[in-house]
């Protein structure tokens, strides 16, 4: 909340970006919480609790839906903030989650297990990225800064690159 307090006043100065940052944080946070429940349900299921398969399936629906919501939010972040890093990272995550969903339904556990671990690792990286420091607040003003023009290049590296992108905004 203290971070929020620090972030919001400048956001008021550029009204359209502040709420976007908060929406982004909320969606990524909900996404992380949902995805972390998935291995829990899977473990409970394999311990012999049939109902947990239903939870795992519902969890998959929620996680995948949140992935698509995050994709929309990331598009907004890209357009408004000229910041493609988060968007590209989210594209990769959503692709992984879609494959993950199909692999799970098909019982291709050789893919489902390692991909699940990687997806969670990637999402945790995004979670750290959006919470570690104040989110970029500017947009239009930043367009003219040299750092901002770097971002399309740096953004291709995924979420790690986005960290540096945010650095540029700051």
């Amino acid at each position: 909340m203290t971070t929020a307090a620090k972030t919001l006043p400048p956001a008021r100065a550029v009204p359209r970006t502040g709420p976007a940052g908060w929406v982004l944080r909320s969606v990524v946070s909900a996404h992380v919480a949902a995805i972390l429940a998935q291995p829990v349900f899977a473990g409970v299921y394999l311990s012999g609790d049939f109902d947990a398969l239903g939870w795992h399936a519902t969890g998959a629906d929620i996680v995948t839906t949140l992935g698509y919501v995050q994709l929309v939010v990331a598009v907004v972040a890209w357009v408004r903030l000229r910041q493609p890093g988060l968007f590209l990272g989210t594209v990769a995550l959503v692709a992984a989650e879609t494959v993950q969903y199909v692999a799970g339904m098909d019982g291709a556990l050789w893919l489902h297990l390692p991909l699940g671990v990687l997806t969670i690792a990637g999402l945790i990286g995004q979670f750290v990225a959006v919470w570690l420091r104040p989110l970029p607040r500017v947009a239009r003003a930043a367009d003219d800064l040299p750092e901002a023009t770097d971002e399309p290049r740096t953004g291709t590296g995924g979420r790690e690159a986005r960290l540096t992108g945010e650095a540029g905004d700051e």
Binding site: L46, L109, L115, L118, E147
Partner: protein, 531 residues
């Protein structure tokens, strides 16, 4: 430029390294994982293997009753060692029913009781179970109801267990010497059953050595359907085996005499697979057929190997396998299948039509789950045009039970998974290895129950006494091949299924277990008491 003192280049480096590690992990999984998944380890034969589709398909002889008086067919079967020609020019020492592998087929009529007197002339205790039989408990072949061979020192000699089941005696065991007579009322739907050894801790090597045979139940209603019959009805027992250099069967038993120490080395814990596919005891056989419909009664009697069968012509066309029956008899209506996934102990009753196949060409029954030679199973060579008066009626039966979820008085969950027994690894149901003296499930005669089964790797789950229907698989609709009344359901890795059944027939102590024979020997059985 830096952020918290971190160089941008370094951030790229970390990102790139993580990306490569992720790609490496997924690639390793793609390369190392068995796709499709296979549970078990394959033995390699040490003898040259025959070219597929040269050996003619044998059909097991039908056993003649010794007496048919009083409305009961009485048979005698001797369990004995014999040398059986399996590979061309090689005699393989086996343990057999009546000197043959597969054992002789018993033909029976619905509701007409059969008694079989088994004489044990093998060097180890035996016990016969009629798989799929609706049999009173005392004749069901409980694993400790042993028939001891002559000269077996002590009734408990056959009852030693791995440390996980240490000191486990079964006070309810009924042990006899030399012979045992089983009574099979056969008051059940017509279908293909099979009989095999079910001795505690030693079922897998006993079946591997040859203790398996088929048993058909028929009735007038089925006869009247007009399905292909006579020489156009073929019982097909599919097994995999491996051969040692001397032509004997290779099997990694910890105690090759099968007298005291059960089990296999850890490497084979998940199941023993052979590299030779036998049908009715012949390696990759070929059968000459008319260009007509044939009824194939397929049984997978392998210890651990799953197959996914398809019928492929020489020009690559897939023929329909029209399923008319499941484990426990006729379906309500025929279902055209392209592929038949068949797990150990499962049966399919299918009709395949060779009418459109050019004379002189072949139709191969192939296994999509195999690799190399284990992809091949059996070939049919279409020899001649022929008249065909057989048919596949739209309605096959009207007596399939229609249980609904609402009928169930109880829902039970069972996890089938690997685990530790007291020492060493084994296979557990609901976290426990088999103990004949423990009561696991007690069901009231006549009760309908739903069971929810969950597997970690492949587990073909079999219930004695009853047939069941599949309600769901993996939380979704059952497979097209799950139709009809079954007694064995194949769970794939991580898969679950809901089945519904009614416990009727007889009271007494029965079993349910995984029919991967190595798994069942290493703990994966549980008691089912019907009261």
């Amino acid at each position: 430029m830096s952020e918290y003192g971190v160089e941008r280049r370094r951030v790229f480096g970390i990102g790139g390294a993580l990306g490569m590690l992720a790609a490496g992990g997924l690639t390793a999984s793609t390369v190392l994982a068995r796709r499709p998944a296979v549970t078990g380890a394959e033995l390699r034969s040490a003898v040259p293997l025959p070219v597929p589709y040269r050996t003619p398909l044998p059909v097991p002889t039908v056993l003649r009753p010794v007496d048919t008086a009083g409305g009961v067919d009485r048979y005698r079967v001797t369990q004995r060692a014999a040398r059986v020609p399996i590979l061309p020019g090689v005699d393989t020492p086996m343990w057999t029913y009546e000197g043959a592998f597969p054992g002789p087929t018993i033909e029976s009529r619905r509701g007409r009781p059969v008694t079989v007197t088994y004489r044990n002339e093998l060097p180890v205790p035996t016990v016969v179970h009629l798989h799929g039989g609706r049999t009173p408990a005392e004749s069901d072949g409980y694993p400790t109801d042993l028939v001891l061979p002559r000269g077996w020192r002590d009734p408990m000699d056959g009852m030693r267990h791995p440390a996980g089941m240490a000191g486990m005696a079964d006070p309810r065991a009924v042990v006899t010497r030399s012979t045992r007579t089983h009574t099979f009322p056969l008051d059940q739907r017509p279908t293909l059953l099979w009989y095999h050894d079910h001795r505690m801790d030693f079922t897998a090597p006993a079946i591997w050595r040859g203790l398996a045979g088929m048993h058909v139940v028929r009735d007038d209603a089925e006869d009247a359907l007009g399905l292909p019959a006579g020489p156009r009805e073929l019982p097909l027992m599919i097994t995999d085996r491996a051969f040692a250099a001397d032509g004997g069967l290779a099997y990694p038993a910890l105690d090759p005499t099968l007298r005291e120490r059960p089990g296999v080395p850890e490497r084979y814990l998940a199941g023993v697979l052979g590299d030779v596919i036998l049908v009715n005891g012949a390696p990759w056989p070929v059968h000459e057929v008319d260009a007509a419909r044939y009824r194939l009664r397929i049984l997978n009697a392998s210890n651990a190997r799953h197959y996914e069968l398809e019928a492929v012509t020489d020009d690559g066309r897939r023929l329909d396998l029209v399923q008319v029956g499941a484990d426990q008899g006729l379906l309500a209506a025929p279902v055209a299948q392209r592929r038949l996934p068949i797990a150990p102990a499962e049966r399919y009753d299918v009709v395949v039509d060779f009418a459109a196949v050019p004379v002189g060409s072949r139709v191969r029954l192939r296994n999509r789950l195999g690799t190399g030679r284990t992809r091949e199973v059996l070939a049919f060579r279409v020899a001649r045009k022929a008249a065909d008066r057989s048919r596949i009626p739209r309605v096959l039966s009207r007596d399939l039970p229609t249980w609904h979820r609402g009928d169930a008085v109880r829902v039970r969950d069972f996890a089938f998974r690997a685990g530790r027994m007291d020492s060493g690894h084994g296979w557990l149901i609901g976290g426990l290895p088999f103990d004949p003296a423990r009561s696991d499930v007690t069901a009231r005669l006549g009760d309908v129950e739903v069971w929810r089964l969950i597997a970690d790797v492949h587990h073909p789950v079999h219930l004695h006494l009853v047939g069941f229907r599949v309600l769901s698989r993996g939380g979704r609709r059952p497979l097209p091949t799950d139709v009809g009344l079954k007694d064995t359901i194949a769970l794939r890795p991580g898969e679950s299924a809901e089945i519904i059944t009614r416990f009727d027939g007889y009271r007494g102590r029965y079993l349910f277990h995984c029919h991967n024979a190595e798994h069942e020997d290493m703990g994966m059985m549980a008691n089912l008491d019907i009261v």
